[in-house]
């Protein structure tokens, strides 16, 4: 699926939720089901520090596509990380670089991506794009 197809899918999923609590319960579930990053990569080298929650991010390159895995110490952060990975993992570097990820706003989670949330997510997206750029140059 393309990035925008996945984005649409997520928007549809979220459209079923009536209130914030259902939405957050879903995010928490997403957090719990995030495919865990290989323990080898849960080191300082792959750590993105937010001041409240931390994110570990690893990127691999397979068949012209970037594959991300990640983890976080906070579940909600992890849930959103999972959403981001669903959208951006297994995409080409070009598509990742071009992506704007409007869906975050549409499903009402914009505040988590505010540079001031200090949960590491903004830096994480920046880092994902940097990986994509690096792999684009390499290939």
């Amino acid at each position: 699926m393309t990035i925008s197809e996945i984005e649409n899918q997520i928007v549809t999923e979220f459209s079923f939720f009536e209130d914030w609590m259902d939405k957050y319960n879903f995010i928490i579930e997403m957090g719990k089901s995030l495919p865990l990053i290989d323990n080898r990569f849960k080191t300082d080298q792959y750590l993105i520090t937010g001041c409240q929650s931390q994110v570990w991010l690893y990127a691999d390159y397979r068949d012209g596509k970037v594959v991300f895995t990640a983890d976080s110490d906070a579940i909600i952060t992890k849930g959103i990380v999972h959403l981001l990975i669903r959208v951006l993992s297994n995409q080409t570097p070009e598509d990742i670089i071009r992506s704007e990820m409007q869906f975050i706003d549409v499903i009402g989670l914009k505040e988590h991506l505010s540079p001031t949330r200090s949960n590491g997510l903004v830096s994480m997206i920046k880092q994902m794009k940097l990986y994509a750029m690096a792999y684009k140059i390499k290939s």
């Binding site: 914030w20 609590m21 957050y24 319960n25 928490i28 001041c51 929650s53 906070a74 579940i75």
Partner: protein
């Protein structure tokens, strides 16, 4: 007399709003307090009538505002019972007050091999300035250890003090745990060896009566915005003898007496330390805030907040899985806690959605958080306008958090 909580709440316009369709509960008072209408009115009045640059103007507005400005300096000195008003320096906040002392006292009195003592409970603002000063001067920074309850380890403190100690800087109240530190005892001990003591009063002044002569501290620092006054105004109290010996900090404006091409002479205290156009608005607001506190009565405030603390401690402590962080015997109305193994950020997001403003994280005191071996805390800090019903709402939110992350 019953505490007039309804009347008081009416005076704070911020409190009367809905957040996510619920009435706002504001429990982030240790970060900054809300402002009563009297403070807002003082600002409106200032800008609608008195606004001007003070001190050197001969004209009417300048005369009027200067008088109010200097009267407020006197009011501050009686607020903390300082011996004289020229020992009161207006700054932009606690951080600046401490930086001023670290820089200026440091230049004059700290050299290679000297020692500075702070505690493990300090806010970064009373930590990093001393750390950097010591780095620059090749002096040593020492830390008073903290007990598991969140109190100062006084025995260790006494052992830390040496002939090389040049200054001790400690907080009056911990912004993470609420612990009221035994500053009087620290000061008495330090003064036996003629070591001056700076007290960071940011978390004290809105909660309890402060008497700098009784404490006998050498410096006392606080921020207006944490005591119902506007942002951008703070106070440094310093003993005349020390302030006189210290070089100025920032340069320019009223702090100058005469400038020549080859040298400059400085104004007397307190002006020597007040560079640039002062925040006259902030000073007007500070005066209104002090009046508000005086009229409410600091002892009444203390009593009300103590009840809030007791209730919150009981109510939250009663929820299974809630762990209270910091259990000192003497505390202000602040409660730090964790819910099971739930990350404070996760808890904070959900509590926020329930219309309650608490703070989560390290509260600008990373070394303490490290000592406590927690990933941060959830902190609810109360002010005089908070209520028992609001604490009930927090307890409900905590239970909600538990359920969601079960």
């Amino acid at each position: 007399m019953a505490f007039p909580i309804d009347k008081i709440r009416k005076e704070f316009p911020v409190l009367h709003q809905m957040v996510y369709n619920r009435p706002l509960v504001y429990f982030d008072n240790a970060a900054t307090t809300q402002k009563p209408q009297a403070v807002i009115d003082a600002i409106i009045n200032y800008y609608s009538r008195d606004n001007c640059n003070i001190h050197r103007g001969v004209h009417f507005l300048s005369q009027r505002a200067t008088e109010e400005f200097e009267n407020t300096r006197k009011a501050v000195s009686s607020f903390i019972n300082a011996p004289s008003s020229h020992e009161i320096i207006f700054t932009k906040g606690t951080t600046e007050s401490i930086n001023l002392v670290a820089s200026s006292f440091g230049k004059r009195f700290i050299s290679k091999g000297d020692e500075v003592i702070i505690s493990g409970l300090e806010h970064h603002s009373n930590f990093v300035p001393w750390q950097i000063l010591c780095n620059e001067k090749e002096a040593t920074l020492k830390f008073i250890p903290v007990t598991p309850e969140g109190e100062l380890d006084m025995d260790s403190f006494r052992k830390l003090v040496s002939k090389k100690t040049r200054i001790i800087a400690i907080t009056h109240v911990s912004n993470v745990l609420g612990t009221i530190l035994p500053v009087e005892e620290v000061i008495r001990y330090a003064h036996q060896f003629n070591i001056p003591v700076l007290v960071d009063g940011a978390q004290a002044v809105s909660h309890m009566a402060v008497d700098v002569q009784k404490l006998d501290c050498d410096f006392y620092c606080f921020s207006g915005h944490k005591m119902y006054a506007p942002m951008g105004i703070g106070v440094l109290y310093g003993k005349e003898k020390l302030l006189e010996e210290m070089p100025p900090y920032q340069l320019g404006g009223e702090m100058i007496k005469e400038v020549f091409f080859d040298h400059t002479t400085y104004n007397d205290l307190p002006y020597k330390f007040e560079a640039g156009t002062p925040n006259v608005e902030g000073v007007y607001g500070l005066k209104a805030a002090m009046n508000f506190i005086r009229e409410t009565g600091i002892d009444n405030i203390y009593a009300w907040e103590e009840e809030l603390l007791r209730y919150a401690t009981w109510k939250l402590g009663d929820i299974e899985g809630v762990r209270l962080i910091g259990t000192a015997r003497k505390k202000t109305s602040l409660i730090s806690f964790l819910i099971g193994n739930i990350h404070p950020y996760d808890a904070g997001v959900i509590i926020d959605k329930m219309g309650i403003a608490v703070r989560t994280g390290h509260h600008c005191a990373m070394p303490l958080i490290e000592l406590l071996k927690v990933p941060g805390t959830i902190r609810a800090s109360f002010a005089l306008y908070n209520t028992f019903e609001e604490i009930d709402r927090l307890a409900e939110a905590v239970i909600q958090v538990k359920q969601m992350f079960a």
